[in-house]
Symmetry: C2
Subunit: 168 residues, 2 copies
């Protein structure tokens, strides 16, 4: 026992290396947990969108981006908002156009640029999806209290803030 | 909305509607923050793997999976561990084989099944990458103290636990 106490004292004073190793392990564990969590939520969102709206995450993302820009977005800007690795914005916009949810318009003064904008129907459809999406997230993240959600959001800004330095 | 209150059970009985709306907003904000954070970290990992190891995340994931299974993994099991939407396991394994990092072996007693296993060189290369990966994560998540990382990991289990119910 005395020995352990001594060890503890010494450890406390000299531990930096060990504590550092342990911090990096915990951060790695947190990272793997975050990855697993976001995938789990995304896969549920994907399934819900398919079942309830016969839609997909990339389609949802395109509609969400357009809903934020009343005046429309250029195709190039739209590509930027799409989730990593979901590629085909053109195909998605083609389908949404056929379904009457978006329209393409010529950019005045720029013959080659096209703006994409939500139609009234598109706005309506997206409103329903956005409401459902918020409900799903509320459910999937229901294990967090309001206070936790708020404080975690704030703390996680430390990660995304790195972003602003680099541009993106 | 009334329906939702009922669904939510205890919480709904004691928490006013306004607070609930606000909780769902905070959970949505947390979700968007998590998405942004994981993408930010993944994109940095992608860049680091490319620059320091001339490699990619899917390749890293394949090596990591194989490192966990000394006896090798079937191609089908390997597909399962790959990140969403990165597809081509066969192509990745082909390249890793050419580079001498993995070998394919016949499964005894099953002519059609192939096992993939790390070579000694593969094990060495992955060890270096895994060490760098832990260092990068330690850096990217450096805004979290050891205690935060630990407690966040624990709390985020509430999300991934949903997983276990559904199988996956």
């Amino acid at each position: 026992m005395a020995q352990r106490d001594t060890d503890k004292g010494t450890a406390a004073r000299t531990i930096p290396a060990a504590a550092q190793a342990s911090a990096s392990k915990e951060r790695l564990r947190l990272w793997l947990r975050l990855l697993k969590s976001t995938r789990r939520v995304e896969s549920q969102l994907r399934e819900n969108l398919r079942i309830e709206f016969n839609s997909t995450l990339p389609r949802f993302d395109v509609l969400a981006a357009l809903a934020r820009y009343q005046d429309g977005l250029k195709m190039s800007a739209l590509s930027g908002v799409l989730r990593v690795s979901n590629g085909n914005v053109t195909g998605i916009v083609d389908r949404l156009t056929q379904e009457g949810l978006v329209v393409r318009m010529q950019v005045p003064g720029d013959r080659r640029a096209m703006l994409v904008r939500l139609t009234d129907k598109g706005r309506e459809v997206f409103a329903a999806q956005a409401e459902a999406h918020e409900r799903w997230i509320d459910d999937l993240l229901g294990g967090f209290t309001l206070e936790e959600a708020r404080s975690f959001s704030d703390r996680f800004e430390t990660i995304t803030n790195l972003d602003e330095e680099g541009g993106q």
